[in-house]
Point group: C2
């Protein structure tokens, strides 16, 4: 640790911020547990604001990690969110990297 010439790559370098960011990690783990979840459920489960949820869903949708369907429950609009296959795969990669980080953090104690 005292030799600056040694270049190793730490597992955190492999983290993809599209999935690692706190709210997005929450969205994907909730969706991984459920077939689909609606906007209100996600917002309440994650304890974030409408605006925060919307902008993070947009990032995940742009990455192809979630699919968003707007439906009507009678006259009430509902927004359903589903994780895509790519989204589940991205979450699995994140979890694998987190396990490597945890193993190093635990090993150092």
């Amino acid at each position: 640790m005292t030799d600056p010439g040694v270049t190793t790559t730490h597992p955190t370098a492999e983290l993809d911020n599209t999935v690692h960011q706190r709210a997005r990690l929450g969205i994907l783990t909730v969706l991984n547990e459920a077939e689909r979840a609606d906007f209100v459920y996600l917002r309440d489960a994650l304890g974030i604001t409408d605006g925060n949820l919307s902008s993070n869903l947009q990032v995940l949708q742009d990455a192809g990690y979630v699919k968003i369907d707007k439906t009507f429950d009678g006259k009430r609009p509902r927004t359903w969110v589903t994780a895509t296959k790519a989204g589940r795969k991205a979450l699995a990669s994140e979890v694998a990297i987190l396990k490597a980080i945890i193993a190093r953090a635990d090993g150092a104690r």
Copy 2:
């Protein structure tokens, strides 16, 4: 998962972005393994730019999670970074929350 009236709090809601952010999680895990690390070592180990490392070290220093010491190695300036007790505690909390998230992600498969 289909009842929006149920308000549960997901473990991601407890994540502290000061520690969770990718580069900062990297800095704290490297420092947790070492007594101290210098700027160049951290930069190379994490594969980030000087500017990115500087700004994230500033956030960690402002939070009281790292201590930064500027020394001279002959005429060459060196910047040493050490995790504080609060920084190690914050990393331990992050790791505990990550374990809870992983347990849920793994359980859902």
